[in-house]
Symmetry: C2
Subunit: 393 residues, 2 copies
């Protein structure tokens, strides 16, 4: 008998047809004499809906109360799934975060799991129950409800798998694994069989949506083998483990939601840079890769997220109105794979390809498992496709 954790995301639970598919997937695992713990997110767009309702009451809703509000989404999912499994004739029991003993830090809206008291989960497993746990939520030492931030249900699943020493931790979603690049855009994208924790971390941080980075950090720390798969088929997915394989590029991901900003002013004064930096940070905008290209005039460029563009333009009209500005929509293309830093072949081929295409490069970053290039958004698809062809397929 094995102990397994199955995690299902919100889009896998969006309606009753999908709930039935999920229930049958759970039953398949349970019937193979497994002890089964299921972790679920809120159904479909529930969380977004609750956030919208709260914003109608307050521009910046109290964080403690937001956690009370948002945690109802997963509570609805667990009870519905338990109702369905019981109707299908199976022993099932739902547990909220606090009932499942998930203790977190006190930081509302982005709490960290500190400790799991597995007593209740283990008792219910011994009673042959399918144990359905609300993802994304826990309880702090004041007995207040906390939530783990976006993607927190992945973290719940892996943390429970670690605490209970599960044999398998499956993360199901509407894609069946991690691909060599986005299969919705590049048809020759290949599914990756195995990835190391560090490779997966780099992919998550660069925007691959299969797994949340905090969940991968916990998996790495406690050596939890993660198996990703699709809720809607039985294809073999991607396994994330601690294996170190041969040096190669595993996947190429791209983030298009970035803007390169250039600000100019006729004279240069170091205080202006301080003022700029402070104004951005105090408005929640984090400028990355900020460089100043001149000491005679002020000629500074940096990157911001597309979602911060509105706020930034307001600042330009008010506090930062002295500057002349220019905006360029850029993309960061990241090649991820173990040993890239020391792989001359990858670096050389990438630079050659960029050179042949006469591509403007705004920034290049090279790390242990990752090579990132910033270029104009409009040429980024072509570059990604050529890099994929040259280095992967």
């Amino acid at each position: 008998m094995e102990t397994i954790v199955l995690k299902f995301g919100g889009s896998s639970l969006a309606d009753n047809i999908k709930l039935n598919i999920v229930a049958n997937k759970i039953i398949d695992f349970y019937n193979k004499k497994n002890k089964v713990i299921v972790v679920v997110s809120a159904q479909g767009k529930t969380t977004d809906g609750l956030i919208k309702e709260a914003k109608e009451l307050s521009y910046s809703p109290d964080k403690r109360e937001m956690d009370v509000l948002l945690s109802t989404g997963e509570q609805i999912s667990i009870s519905k799934l338990a109702i369905l499994l019981k109707r299908l004739g199976y022993n099932a029991i739902s547990l909220t975060g606090w009932q499942a003993g998930i203790y977190t830090s006190n930081t509302n809206e982005e709490a960290k799991i500190e400790y799991i008291n597995t007593e209740r989960i283990e008792k219910e497993l011994e009673n042959n129950n399918i144990v359905i746990v609300a993802g994304f939520q826990g309880i702090n030492d004041k007995k207040d409800i906390t939530t783990l931030g976006r993607g927190g249900s992945d973290t719940t699943a892996v943390a429970i798998a670690a605490a209970i020493k599960a044999d398998h931790c499956y993360i199901f979603s509407d894609v069946d694994g991690v691909y060599s690049t986005d299969p919705n855009k590049i048809t020759i994208a290949k599914k990756i069989e195995e990835l190391s924790y560090d490779e997966m971390l780099d992919l998550s941080n660069e925007g691959a949506k299969v797994l949340h980075n905090r969940c991968v950090e916990i998996a790495k720390r406690y050596n939890v083998l993660i198996e990703t798969g699709s809720t809607f088929n039985n294809n073999v997915g991607t396994v994330i483990n601690s294996k170190i394989e041969e040096s190669s590029v595993k996947s190429i991901v791209k983030n298009d939601n970035l803007f390169l900003i250039t600000l100019k002013y006729e004279s240069y004064n170091p205080d202006m840079l301080n003022k700029l930096y402070f104004t951005l940070l105090s408005n929640g905008i984090i400028p990355t890769n900020m460089v100043n290209n001149s000491t005679s005039s002020f000629n500074t460029s940096f990157t911001i997220k597309a979602s911060d563009l509105g706020t930034f333009q307001e600042l330009l009209e008010n506090e930062l109105s002295m500057f002349n500005s220019a905006f360029t929509n850029i993309s960061r293309i990241s090649l991820v794979g173990y040993g890239i830093l020391n792989n001359d072949n990858v670096i050389r081929k990438t630079l050659e390809l960029l050179n042949i295409n006469s591509v403007d490069i705004f920034d290049i970053q090279l790390e242990e498992c990752k090579l990132s290039i910033m270029t104009k958004e409009k040429v980024s698809n072509k570059i990604l496709e050529q890099l994929h062809h040259e280095l992967i397929s």
Copy 2:
């Protein structure tokens, strides 16, 4: 400084405009230097919506899981109200049933409050918080979520008022008090200033919707003075207390959702009555006032709720198909007031009036504070109006 409990029902919380009215009502009480505890129901039709969703997954959803599901409704209300009060600049904190220390029996869907540990509520009051507690829900000794059944939020409010020895317990809804009969139907209905617990209990049991009967039972037991009022105006409502006033009819209520059933069979056999009774009870139908009018043939009549009619008709087609049946939609009119049992005048006038109108009476019941008459639904409005005219206005 007084400690007060304010309870708001679902229709008072149905949208953001109403939430703002409720918030301002709460603030008025808080600004008068009161310690304020607010108990809320789920918003508008939330609970009905969740029940409908559960029924789509199972004809008879598991009761433990229904309580997990339904309790999210009040959890959404408390967090939204706290978000709004904080935005308006007031200290507020939400507490779910388990956070508020509301311990109940193990009976899911109709748990009884057994004990309230007021520690957390008192701590939050000392911190000058408006404490917003989820009505209708609690926790049992297994740390499972329970709910108190329909109208349970009234019970939560009165139980907290009793436990915390509150000076006032206000129950707000969309009507401002208890009337001498339904003011939506009989325009001359008068608001009642004061009622005793026993009178209110009889009215609640007969279907008056202002207060739930279990809440009145607790109020009576712990001598909690209840003040009813409207969320949407400042009219004086009805006070429910232990005063015993002069013998008189205070209110006349009517329940139209009843069916008189008559079943016939050519021969009589006592076993048939047993079988009938057992079949009804095991299908959740409670037959009231069952009588058999013959010993040569089987000729039995009894009353069932209109909501059980569908189930009953299915039984007639299957297990009970040997019987000939007839159905009549009937109403129970109840006159409620202290001392009715010994008030010859009330009984005489009622019977005279029924006689003058040649009304079919199916049943008369006389109790300490109540006189009930069952008659055909279609004549019941006329009779109620005449009784109100004769005995109240």
